[in-house]
């Protein structure tokens, strides 16, 4: 019966309109079959999905409309007419955020769709919008899970980088950096000539303009192939390569200036003198020449705005980049050169200049079997600075004596009382020259179809020469010293050889990729530091042979590392993905028999949007992926030779004999710290993949912690390295949203947003209470905590701070650590970034905001007692004066008990920790590209002029200087404004 009706219906319909069976094939622009595309008959629910060769069969009436859609491609409609064989070509959707997303995972690449791990990418475009000299400054806030903190606003200063929090209690927490596959270091190679900017950051040698992309590898799936180096994440930096096509010459120049932003106002002389006088009155003491030279011996009406004088200048910034690139289909090249110069906000001619060249050559053989890519870059970075950050001297008494005496020499005293003349430090010049050569060769040869041999060869050489002079003229005559100087020469050489075999094949829906490789690496550092004194003349300070006394200290280390690694990846119909990675590592940083360890990970992903039931029920969801990974990585960042039992020469000989002293306590038995990482991720793409949302949860647990366990000095040393049964856990949620909101010929509008909610927790620590960490950590709390006593504010009667003891009673002399009742977490508890970019015809505008939520030390931390001989932020004006006053700050005083209450007890109280959250308008870039016909007049392909700004506005409740550097004695990050022009021929 059913059969009859069906047959009849078919016959009837065939009679009404010509229903026919259509066979077709869906292909992409290159004619490659597209499987999994959905073919729907419009205004019906009838649909089918293309097969592995893109083929499909559907019954339709002529005149009906077929809608063909495939994620990543623009939808296409085809009218059914008489053709029974259709070949339908789909065009890649320009707006899709997934199409171009090749993901570099170091030893291999994948696409964002097929990636089983967690990788964030920062592209050259985002870097180019920021007028910063250091690459690390350009990635702050740009990727979830990545926290970047600048140590100072001076050029050459270091950045601390953490991926997903602090894993290790004591060992290095920095990620592994690879530039084109060659390990690079973020640790200064300086042996210890510390200049105003701290230790020289090696990243200051990298020209941000040479960088094509930066990939942040986070979970076990992405990092376990790096074994022991992957525990703290991996930062892959890829430099610019040539592309085939016409020769392109790109010139880009910008210039601008930077100034300090947030630095609290300090008391002027009137307020300062009042503070000092009031303090002595409160103390019932008479100021005399040695308790108060500022009141007794110095002019109490003179006013110097030290902040303005010492750090109020503007830093000039100039950057020029030129590159030429091009090539044919077989050979491409890129040759770039750049110059960057920054001066400082200090008075005087101090600057940082960097010159660099970058060259890349890529060649493919005609038969495509052989491929070679050679990259080399060289840079020289010259930093002419001073030894001290003058920011620490803005607290000088505002009525301090004149800087120079009547003869033009530095002044050191007035009225019989000496003062530390900050301009003396301008004479203590610290010069550094850092050279960096990186070179890398990748060779690939196709032995058989699907079977490649590959080798990655790299070499990195860094040299850092520093000299730091202390002319006699800059030294307080109190000590009657002649000039002295320090010179250091540091060399770092590393090489890496990584032969690999790649194999791939496909059987039906299954694709297999196998990679096996080994890695040999060596890092050698040779440094010496020469200390020279008793110079006969300040003019000879750069010549150690002119010194009466010279002592040399040298440090030489050799680090070797080897590994075998592999990867097996299975892809079933681009729907089910499995990725297995493993590595066996050996490191010279461990004693015999402790050197080797195994690491590995499993990653899997399910692209559920490929499932028919999703396509049918959630047609809006163009892309959906669930992924997860679990694995083990390790950490050996403890320094070299720590397992040896040795004696070291003492740098100060005794009666001509160089003494020997024990280097450290001896422990040959420690081994790898291990880090177990778990990750779950959900990736969703909407509206033709124009909106992409990624949500990840991670849980990393670090065990076998390598701790320089604190020991009482009665053991001879303050600590020893050993594996400790402690577990540190980092969990967190990461969210990233990218949206191509508008994408038309004239107008494009993109936005991106990322947010990380990290949580760090000390899960286990055996015998914590009896360890040296008892006062520092609590089980169940983050590592970033600090334990404090509770400050109850200013006592209205005595005018000094009061506290509570462990029983909750008010006391003026709490005891440490017994009365630590407050725990404050100083690590960020939420951070992220928001960026948006609009391009309308020739106009472009992009903005980027950084957001950090955290607690931090405020200005009161280590602040001298208000009333003592140091200037204060105007916050202290709201002080206690008379019994009964309710004041925020205690009375001005120079002596105990007020001094102890402020500088000793309150400094260990919750009164010095407050909200240091901030939203920073980190970057803005406005550009205009001249119409082509105008550019054509100077025979240029394009001309673009732009304005850029960095660190523009900071919104914060923070009491103190910059909420990022959180220090009153370090130069905060500068606000930088630049203008530039880019011409491409």
């Amino acid at each position: 019966m059913k059969f009859i009706i069906l047959t009849a219906a078919l016959l009837i319909s065939a009679g009404v309109s010509a229903q026919m069976i259509i066979h077709g094939q869906i292909v992409d622009e290159n004619g490659k079959p597209l499987s999994g595309a959905t073919i729907t008959i419009k205004q019906t629910s009838k649909r089918t999905v293309s097969g592995s060769e893109g083929e499909f069969t559907i019954q339709a009436d002529s005149g009906q409309m077929l809608t063909i859609s495939d994620p990543g491609y623009d939808d296409r409609e085809v009218l059914v007419n008489t053709d029974r064989e259709l070949r339908i070509e789909l065009e890649l959707s320009l707006a899709s955020l997934l199409n171009t997303a090749v993901v570099n995972k170091g030893y291999y690449t994948t696409t964002q769709k097929l990636n089983t791990g967690n990788v964030s990418t920062i592209k050259a475009g985002e870097i180019a919008e920021q007028p910063v000299g250091n690459l690390l400054a350009a990635i702050a806030g740009r990727a979830p899970g990545l926290s970047v903190t600048q140590s100072s606003g001076l050029p050459g200063a270091g950045f601390s980088v953490a991926i997903r929090g602090q894993n290790s209690i004591q060992s290095g927490n920095g990620p592994l950096y690879l530039i084109d596959g060659v390990p690079f270091t973020n640790t200064s190679i300086s042996l210890g000539v510390i200049s105003a900017n701290g230790l020289q950051s090696p990243f200051n040698n990298i020209n941000p303009g040479d960088i094509e992309s930066i990939e942040i590898l986070k979970d076990a799936d992405a990092t376990a192939i790096y074994g022991s180096r992957g525990a703290n994440g991996v930062v892959l930096i890829t430099t610019k390569k040539g592309t085939s096509g016409r020769i392109k010459l790109d010139l880009n120049v910008y210039t601008g200036a930077g100034k300090i932003t947030r630095m609290p106002d300090l008391l002027n002389t009137r307020q300062y003198i009042q503070m000092r006088t009031e303090a002595f009155a409160n103390d019932g003491l008479a100021p005399d020449i040695y308790s108060a030279p500022d009141l007794v011996a110095w002019d109490t009406t003179r006013y110097t705005d030290w902040k303005k004088l010492l750090i109020g200048g503007s830093a000039k910034i100039t950057d020029a980049q030129a590159s030429i690139s091009g090539g044919n289909t077989l050979t491409q090249f890129f040759l770039g050169s750049a110059f960057h110069r920054e001066t400082t906000v200090f008075p005087g001619a101090f600057s940082n200049s960097r010159g660099s060249v970058h060259f890349n050559l890529t060649h493919n053989s005609q038969d495509d079997k052989f491929k070679a890519a050679f990259t080399t870059s060289y840079s020289t970075d010259k930093i002419d600075l001073i030894g001290q950050d003058l920011t620490s001297y803005i607290r000088l008494s505002p009525n301090a004596p004149a800087l120079y005496d009547s003869t033009g020499k530095l002044n050191w005293s007035e009225g019989g009382a000496s003062f530390s003349n900050p301009f003396a430090y301008l004479l203590q010049k610290s010069n550094a020259t850092a050279d960096n050569l990186m070179t890398n060769l990748v060779l690939r040869y196709q032995l058989l179809p699907g079977l490649n041999l590959k080798a990655n060869l790299g070499y990195n050489s860094m040299q850092l020469r520093q000299n730091f002079i202390y002319p006699g003229a800059s030294l307080d005559p109190l000590y009657a010293f002649t000039g002295f100087a320090e010179y250091s020469d540091n060399n770092y050489r590393s090489w890496i050889i990584e032969p690999q075999v790649e194999y791939q094949n496909a059987w039906g829906k299954a694709k297999l990729e196998v990679l096996v490789g080994t890695s040999f690496q060596q890092e050698k550092t040779d440094g010496s530091i020469t200390f020279a004194s008793n110079f006969t003349s300040d003019a000879l300070l750069l010549s150690p042979s002119a010194a009466g006394t010279v002592s040399v200290n040298n440090n030489n280390t050799l680090y070797r590392y080897q590994a075998a690694f592999g990867r097996i990846s299975v892809n079933w119909g681009d729907k089910y993905l499995l990725n297995l990675t493993g590595r066996r590592d050996g490191s010279s940083r461990f004693g015999p028999d402790r050197q080797f360890s195994n690491f590995g990970a499993v990653g899997a992903a399910w692209i559920f949007s490929k499932e028919a039931f999703i396509k049918e029920n959630l047609p809006l969801l163009k892309y959906g992926k669930l992924r997860g990974s679990y694995g083990i990585t390790g950490n050996d960042q403890i320094g070299d030779y720590q397992y040896l039992n040795t004696y070291t020469p003492y740098p100060y000989p005794y009666q001509g004999m160089t003494g020997l002293v024990p280097t450290q306590l001896y422990n040959p038995d420690y081994s790898w710290e291990t880090n177990r990482k778990l990750e779950l991720g959900l990736e969703l793409g909407f509206i033709n993949e124009r909106i992409l949302v990624t949500i990840s949860y991670y849980r990393n647990r670090s065990t076998n912690q390598l701790i320089n366990a604190t020991l009482p000095i009665q053991t001879g040393f303050n600590g020893i390295i050993r594996n400790f049964p402690a577990i540190v856990q980092n969990t967190g949620w990461e969210c990233q949203v990218n949206a191509a909101i508008v994408k038309t010929k004239n107008l494009t509008w993109d936005a991106s947003f990322n947010l990380t909610i990290p949580r760090n927790k000390l899960l286990e620590f055996s015998q914590l209470s009896s360890s040296g960490y008892a006062g520092k950590y609590t089980i169940g709390e983050p590592l970033g905590i600090i334990k404090l006593v509770h400050q109850t504010g200013v006592d209205p009667q005595s005018g000094i701070f009061r506290f509570t003891d462990k029983d909750g009673h008010i006391t003026s002399t709490p005891s440490f650590p017994d009365d630590y009742t407050v725990v404050k977490n100083l690590s960020p508890i939420l951070y992220g970034g928001f960026g948006s970019k609009v391009q309308y015809k020739g106009f472009g505008l992009s903005v980027f905001f950084q957001l950090v939520r955290q607690n931090g030390f405020n200005y009161a931390y280590n602040n001298p007692t208000p009333g003592s001989m140091a200037n204060q932020p105007t916050y202290v004006l709201n002080r206690w004066r008379n019994p009964g006053d309710a004041a925020a700050t205690q009375l001005y005083t120079t002596t105990n008990p007020g001094s102890a209450a402020y500088f000793f007890y309150s400094n260990a109280s919750d009164g010095m920790v407050s909200d240091a959250s901030f939203i920073r308008w980190r970057n803005a870039a406005l550009s205009y590209s001249l119409p082509e016909r105008w550019a054509g007049r100077i025979k240029a392909g394009s001309v673009r002029i732009y304005l850029q700004g960095e660190n523009l506005v900071t919104i914060t409740h923070y009491k103190g200087a910059d909420p990022e550097t959180r220090s009153m004695s370090t130069l905060p990050p500068l606000r930088i404004l630049t203008a530039g022009i880019q011409i491409v021929f």
Partner: protein
Amino acid sequence: MRWNTYLYVVYSILLVAALPACKSFVEVPPPVNQLNANSVFTDDKTATAAVVGIYSDMEFSAPVSIYLTLLQGLSADELASTSYDEAFQAFADNTYKPNNPYVAAVWALYANIYQANACIQGIQKSAALTAAVKDHLLGEAQFCRAFCYFYLVNLFGNVPLVTSTDYRVNDTVSRTPVAQVYDQIITDLLSAQNLLRTDYPTEQRVRPNKWTAAALLSRVYLYTGKWSNAEAGASAVIGSGSYTLSDVSSVFLNTSNETIWQLMPVSSFFNTQEAVTFIPFVPGLVPVYPLRDGLVAAFEPGDQRKQAWTDSTTIDSQTFYYPYKYKIAGSSPLNEYHIVFRLAEQYLIRAEARMQQGKLKEAIADLNIIRARAGLAPLSLLLNAAAVTSAIAQERRIELFAEFGHRWLDLKRTNQADAVIGTLKPSTWRPEAALWPVPQAQRNANPFLTQNKGY
């Protein structure tokens, strides 16, 4: 996939996997700037260098080179402080707290004790050293250990007694009673006295000899009330014939024949830390650590030591005195070494030991030797015990001021601290301040360390 392809794959994988088999790649040689501990004590020269490393570190590091003198001088009634550093001021007021950085710095004498322990262990185990060198080095190391413990036990009371190098044992050692620490000091010094020769191993008396060990031992006997031993010890040093009292003006020169042991300066910037610390270089500047008025007034009229060993500067009609035993603040000429033991103290030790045994006349005779050198008239041989006691205290106060804290230790061991310092600093002195606090960081690191009373 063809069979050939399989072979290629297998071969390639084997090739790559075989490479890391060479395990020796990650076995690196020791660094060129360090010496394996086992080889240090197999050679006379390197073993000597290990012992010399103790003196280098003592003279370079703050505890011995300046803090023992400065901090004890501030704690007692010798020095005042005009330093802006509140942690120094705390010593002048006797209000030091467990987190005072300088208290911690002195406790770090344990680093020198570790060096000595490591040397003692290495030397005792070694069969390769020349017998004479071995004995002398062992004696020197034992002396150094005793020297450090002497100050620790006097400044902090009970202190952990550590005589080995195994941190797994030593990190939890609790505070050993004073008497037991003294027993170890005496054992070490008796042994050192036997092992050390009467001559010095090198020129200029910069490494201890037998009489150095004897000098410390007689002081230890004095402090522990073993009067006859103290007298005999001091007599042995005095009678050795190796030492004579120098002229007042040349006591602190490196050529002084009064010196029993001196540390040679290792810094290229100055002779002694004392000179740098005490002497203001620009006339018109207030000394950072001026002498207290009471000490200045305690010099008898005509005492040549006041002229030779103190100096003053006058600012706004206020005169500040400061220690001037060491006069060369710069690095050249290198004429002043850091004197740790000198003969004068041995006379004073003997005088006190004799007085305690009722030998008043002999005691006064010893005092008069010191007084005569200072240009002072002799004391009457008829003084009674109380007068001799106070004369000894007075003479020690003047002779040994601003030298390794003699005054502070004298006030404490003669139970005068409360009376003298309590009078001088009535608002801040507490009897518990006689012992410095155990550093808080050390108590955090070793929970078995108790705190002294009152902290």
